[in-house]
Amino acid sequence: MILTAAFLSTLCAAVGWGADARALLKESENRHRTRSQQYAGELTVVNKDGKVRRKGWKSFREGYAGDARNLIRFTDPPEVKGVGFLSLARPGGQNPDQWLYLPSMKRERRIAAQDRDASFVGTDFNYEDMEEFDHEKYKVALQGEQSVDGHPCYVITAIPLEKGGKSVYEKKILFLRKDILYLLREDLYRKGDKEPTKRFILSDLQQIDGHWVARKMEMSDLKKGSRTTVLLKEIAFDRPVVANRFTLQNLNREGGD
């Protein structure tokens, strides 16, 4: 989710249920699709007591939505510097393969699908939040319209399908800006919860290389009272991708990106 704001706007609809929602999401994907994206992220993690921790990472993505490959490499602070995360989409809407590289161990650790609710390196994102959205894993429905930060938005409900593998969430509610079909907000409901557990907000939209992108992303854990803000810098789209970047060998390259 976090890897590219434009991505988040391309949440595609599933088959059969809510044809209008699917059409909107497909159109969103068509408008905002890019071959690759990279950026440097400045993270601020604020816990419920107001204690602030800062982190930095570099993010690379190739492909899109259901065929996306992502690599994240932490650059700061020292205790997580060099930690790497690789996510490779799998066909058929299955959960992606994910690995975490820990410099202290000098090797990667595989992330089991059931571990996807764990905090991603001390942030308010979990491993599922780090996955690219795959439309085949959700059924979607248009619920109506609502304004977010003064922008009229379509409100779309997305419910994970069983065939897409287990999800941490029971439901996601997406707020898609009407004029540019760009995602501005996402409410995430864990199983059995009536209120959203987490809220993902995208803001500070700009056009870079001809693509809309939110330069600020914020994930709030509404139950814990904490939030993680990511400021995107050095954003670039559709640049030539370094060969073998999205491989386990590259993930294990100490000092690599």
């Binding site: 602070p77 020292p78 161990m105 089991a112 001390g122």
Partner: protein
């Protein structure tokens, strides 16, 4: 520089390193650690000791070539630190005040083929609790409760082709295991059959120059991870030679020189890992061949299961050696704790992290309980408090360390 001066410098650095000191590609830390003990095995063991570390790492990328160098300065108040100021290959028996854990470059020969040269650390094996693929790599046991690997001077060729990864390593120089001071609370030698009152005189026997060569192949097929490896050369864990023929009488008993020798060993192993539901199950097996009279052969297996619980992980590992070695197992170091059941639970919290490890020796009913809590004071300051509690029969590898029960506290400043 004397130990006292080096220690004073480290304390000063801990206090004055400006915040935030960040330079492109430079990282490191200053740490002050203190240990307190409840027992002593003899009058030479201190009740408390201090351990100060200054570590700095420099990483640079020139084109596609990665350059990395690190330097470590240490001050230890006990005899674990030797008088030699610098030991570039860590071939001597005591820790030097200055060392270079990293000094390497990595050249891409092709997009999926790398050549790494210099001094670096290896991490093999998939089973975190005990891995036969990892166990032969040299470790520094100066602190017997830490799991500190020693870097190797080596050449490594690594590549990837589809679902396969391969790695070939040649280490032309033996980097030996570093053992605690023999006869101290950290290496009491009670299990070695040494008569009470005996004083050992460690001889800094030079290890052989030849190192080892190893090849490893890994593959990923869906939920399965498979691997196979082989190695031959000098086994870096030493075999102790008690020279009773050169013993001399001392005030409390015999004074016996102890030399070290290094056997050649060949080994092959396999590793399997699979995601099963919410568990990651791993298995490793290795056969080790030696013609050495004291070392013998070994058939080592390890089975582990790992499960995530939110931000925590539980790892249970069962490991054992099907072949009884010719000498006391505790003298073989890389397989001394076998058979063992190791249970580790660690968890990240908003304020830091904690871990609990219980290692149970299955031969003598002894074991080791370790607990540690790390509190992040800020992004760069961290306070750690912990304890190591060996228990049980003194004939076992853990129970023999009963006098090393301790608590520790550490303060680290990173940059």
């Amino acid at each position: 520089m004397t130990r006292q001066r080096l220690g004073a410098c480290l304390v000063l650095l801990l206090l004055i390193v400006p915040a935030p000191l960040r330079a492109q590609g430079v990282s490191g830390y200053v740490e002050e650690k203190a240990f307190g003990y409840a027992e002593r095995s003899n009058s030479r063991d201190p009740w408390a000791l201090g351990w100060g570390t200054l570590f700095s790492k420099w990483e640079e990328k020139v084109g596609e070539t990665q350059l990395t160098a690190s330097v470590r300065g240490e001050w230890i108040t006990s005899d674990e630190q030797g008088s030699r100021v610098f030991d570039p290959a860590d071939r001597h028996i005591r820790r030097p005040p200055l060392s270079v854990p990293d000094l390497w470059l990595r050249l891409p020969l092709a997009p999926a083929l790398d050549l790494q040269l210099g001094r670096f650390q290896l991490g093999w094996g998939k089973t975190d609790g005990y891995s036969p693929a990892d166990a032969f790599l040299p470790r520094d046991f100066s602190d017997p409760f830490s799991d500190e690997k020693i870097s190797l001077w080596a050449v490594r060729l690594s590549g990837e082709d589809g679902q396969f990864r391969y790695e070939a390593v040649v280490s032309p120089v033996t980097t030996p295991w570093r053992l605690p001071v023999l006869g101290s609370r950290n290496a009491p030698l009670t299990a070695a059959g040494v008569p009470a009152g005996t004083v050992v005189q460690e001889v800094d026997t030079p290890p052989p120059w030849a190192g080892f060569a190893a090849l490893r192949i890994l593959a990923t097929f869906g939920q399965w991870d498979l691997g196979a490896w082989g190695r031959f050369g000098v086994r870096p864990a030493p075999l102790l030679e008690f020279r009773f023929d050169r013993a001399t009488p001392g005030p409390t008993g015999l004074s016996v020189p102890v030399e070290r020798r290094y056997a050649r060993e060949e080994a092959v192993g396999i590793e399997l890992s699979r995601i099963i539901g919410s568990w990651i199950v791993r298995g490793e097996a290795a056969t080790l061949f030696s013609r050495d009279r004291d070392l013998g052969n070994a058939l080592i297996g390890a089975l582990s299961a790992e499960k995530g619980f939110g931000d925590g992980t539980l790892l249970v590992t069962l490991a054992g050696n099907a072949i009884t070695p010719p000498v006391d197992t505790s003298l073989l170091y890389d397989r001394a704790i076998l058979p063992a059941l190791i249970t580790a639970w660690n968890r990240s919290e908003e304020w830091g992290e904690w871990k609990l490890v219980w290692s149970a020796g299955l031969s003598h009913g002894d074991g080791l309980l370790k607990g540690e809590v790390g509190y992040n004071i800020s992004d760069v300051w961290k306070l750690t408090i912990g304890s190591e509690l060996p228990y049980g029969s003194e004939d076992g590898p853990f129970g023999a360390l009963h006098a090393a029960k301790r608590v520790h506290v550490a303060l680290r400043r990173s940059w």
